[in-house]
């Protein structure tokens, strides 16, 4: 039995109430004066560990070297804190000049604050270099953020465990995947690891079944009107149900986290205790963080989510997203120019060659050295459409409701219909 430090509403309310005063002191004033062209830009990013942390520090230093009048206050912030810090900062008087931006419905909510800079005209001359990727950072036809990397979700697998179970090639259809799951089980290998404690890894399955069942037009429409009327959405839920019935996951998966500790789903695959995991391309660096001296890297392979028989969706469509940055309205013109620099080959090549992620700029894809990232990159390049993970694509409340509903479904609570209702009730359901 335990209290939150003060009675809990105080914490909740204080977070709201102190917004204005707290933020005005924290970001330290990054005002640009257009008359002199000098600026000091405060930059919030989520690269709290290397190699990303050094990459951004270097990028800021290099940019300052080339533009001596632009200086940076670089502020690495733990990923989860962005959910609460950014709303507070945008509501307050003095937000950071540059902040981490995942696009989608979250971005749409953020621009209602009026503090996110419209970059459309500043980037119009070069944004096409990024291809279709940049669309995820648009709202109402305007560009509000610039991605610096691209993410694609797919199956990571252990080549050694596959050959132990006598599987010669990665599955391309759900039937093959189910057969492989059965084979792995007979060899006492946990077929698929999943971090259901965190919820969002569960949503990847529902998301991908929806992407396979629904046509691209239906997918695109869903993010616009949040109406999941097409029967394909129900089919996705039924597919999840059928798949869960094959018991493909490790024992006690409902209590397993995705990325924390060697007992996490990433750790289980890295240590060879499970054969597959449906995760983003970020999985390798995650595993290295958990098992720094593991020799798993040479054993890892990647294959796209299998085709679903009878689905309306193009099997080449991928599920993914990316990371980017937005500027706030007080940042001045140097901010957009800096984001252009981050999206240019000078920085993008490093993102690719250091294996940090798939570069947002396709021109740098050739610099990828890791064979798995090369595979993912070419899959993404061929994809006719990349559906943004629904929890990001939908407004935050709706996306979180969806994740909750799918996680509940994985734990045996709810129906395919309750998952759909979590979206169509605009996030007010499930209370």
């Amino acid at each position: 039995m335990r209290r939150i430090r003060t009675i809990s509403f105080v914490a909740a309310a204080a977070a709201l109430a102190l917004t204005a005063s707290a933020c005005s002191s924290s970001s330290g004033g990054a005002k640009s004066s257009s008359s002199t062209g000098s600026a000091n830009l405060t930059w919030w990013h989520n690269g709290t560990t290397d190699p990303v942390k050094s990459l951004w520090a270097q990028a800021a230093a290099d940019y300052t070297a080339a533009h001596p009048n632009v200086k940076f206050t670089v502020d690495p912030i733990q990923n989860e804190q962005f959910k609460t810090k950014v709303p507070a900062a945008l509501a307050g008087g003095n937000p950071p000049d540059i902040f981490q931006q995942w696009g989608g419905g979250q971005l749409t909510s953020q621009i209602t604050s009026g503090k996110v800079m419209d970059l459309t005209s500043a980037v119009s001359s070069w944004i096409s270099e990024l291809g279709a990727t940049a669309a995820g950072w648009q709202a109402n036809g305007k560009q509000y953020g610039i991605p610096y990397d691209l993410h694609v979700v797919g199956f990571w697998y252990r080549k050694d465990l596959f050959s132990q179970a006598g599987i010669t090639a990665p599955p391309t259809t759900m039937d093959e995947l189910n057969a492989d799951v059965a084979k792995l089980k007979t060899h006492n290998i946990a077929p698929i690891a999943i971090g259901s404690k965190d919820g969002w890894p569960d949503a990847f399955y529902w998301d991908y079944f929806a992407v396979r069942e629904c046509s691209t037009d239906v997918l695109k429409q869903a993010s616009k009107d949040l109406k999941l009327d097409d029967p394909c959405w129900t089919k996705a839920g039924n597919d999840v149900k059928t798949f869960l019935a094959t018991n493909p996951f490790q024992t006690g998966f409902l209590g397993t986290p995705a990325q924390q500790g060697v007992g996490s789903s990433a750790g289980l695959v890295a240590s060879g205790k499970a054969a597959m995991e449906l995760q983003g391309d970020w999985e390798l660096p995650t595993m290295e963080g958990l098992l720094p001296n593991g020799n798993f890297k040479s054993q890892m392979g990647w294959f796209p989510f299998p085709a679903v028989t009878g689905g309306q969706g193009d099997p080449a469509v991928a599920l993914g997203g990316g990371d980017g940055f937005s500027c706030t309205t007080g940042a001045g013109p140097s901010c957009a120019d800096f984001l252009k620099y981050l999206a240019s080959p000078a920085v993008q090549d490093k993102i690719a060659s250091q294996g940090i992620a798939l570069p947002a700029n396709p021109a740098s894809s050739s610099k990828l050295t890791d064979p798995n990232l090369q595979t993912i990159s070419s899959y993404a390049a061929k994809a006719p459409y990349i559906q943004m993970y629904f929890d990001i694509a939908f407004p935050t409340a709706v996306g979180q409701s969806l994740d909750n509903a799918v996680a509940d479904f994985f734990a045996g609570k709810g129906t395919p219909q309750t998952i759909i209702q979590s979206v169509t009730s605009s996030g007010s359901g499930g209370k």
Binding site: M1, R2, R3, I4, R5, T6, I7, S8, F9, V10, A12, A13, A14, A15, L16, A17, K83, T84, P87, A88, L90, A91, S109, Q110, T112, S113, S196, K197, D198, G199, Q250, T251, G252, F253, L254, G255, T256, G261, G263, P395, T396, A397, Q400, S401, N404, A407, D408, F410, A411, G412, K413, G427, S428, G430, K431
Partner: protein, 335 residues
Amino acid sequence: MSEARVTAGMADTIPAVAGDKTPGRSGRAVKAARPVRPSGRRKRLELVLLLTPATLLFAGFVLAPIALAAYYSFYNWDGYGPLTSAGLSNYTSAITGSNFQHSVGHNLIIVGLSLVIQLPLSIGLAMLLNRNLKGRALLRLVVFAPYVLSEAITAVVWYQMLQPNGFVDQVLISLGLGSQVHLWLASPSLVLYTLFVVITWKYIGFGIILLLAGLQGVPSELREVAALDGASSWQVTRHIVLPLLGPTIRIWIFLSVIGSLQLFDLVWIMTGGGPAEASNTMATYIYNFGIQKQQYGFASAVAVILFIICFAFALAYQRFVLRRDTEGALTRVVG
């Protein structure tokens, strides 16, 4: 059992109890000094100097957030745009929501289990540790040690031990109890009780220390007299020790209930309220459904409900149960 220092009710109680004797003395001083004007002014200056910082802090960090939470609870707000009026809808959708009802239910289950299991266990262990045992100091230390750990550390350690094939499972298997291995944290029907065991492990030491202190206050003469009169040791316990422990037990119940109602850290780290919302408490519910979904108005409404429940309990308990224990400290105007 836990301390609940910052609840509204306790904030009044603690300084008042602590200063139990002083007010009487200063009261006389005031009476004696009344005719002399400058001294009265000095007294007032003293009060202003000493009370202002605390009052300001209390108003700024406790009262103002309460008022703001109440205000926000009548609006919908996602953190960015303007507030839109919501009337009572945040309250009605919380109260009628099955997940909220379950969360309240989970809190009540923890409260109930604490009273039924932790309290007798604490009293028993405290009485045992109050005897002249060999290694008593060491035993007391061992029992109290978990309470010193931070809640986050406790949660992470137990979380690791309760993983499938983890430490707990291995111990059960090596004891020949392999059939008793369960999915401690992954089973929706079991998870709340697993958490209760961890909570008990963590907070039993606090209850024992509290009760040990209470036992020190039981005069040994009374026991001796009872023994001379031929009372059995059970009769001594039942009719002398337990009644004299009454005030300590009552304050333990108060702290325990308030702590149980506000349970958060341990649950959040170990399960996040899952699986399938089976271990949500009111506080994790606020975080899950309010903060993470950026429905701050709704979060405030649930927080206000939690506040009302805690506050009502605290007031009622102090009025009806603790009245005798705190008489003089709370019920009389001092100074």
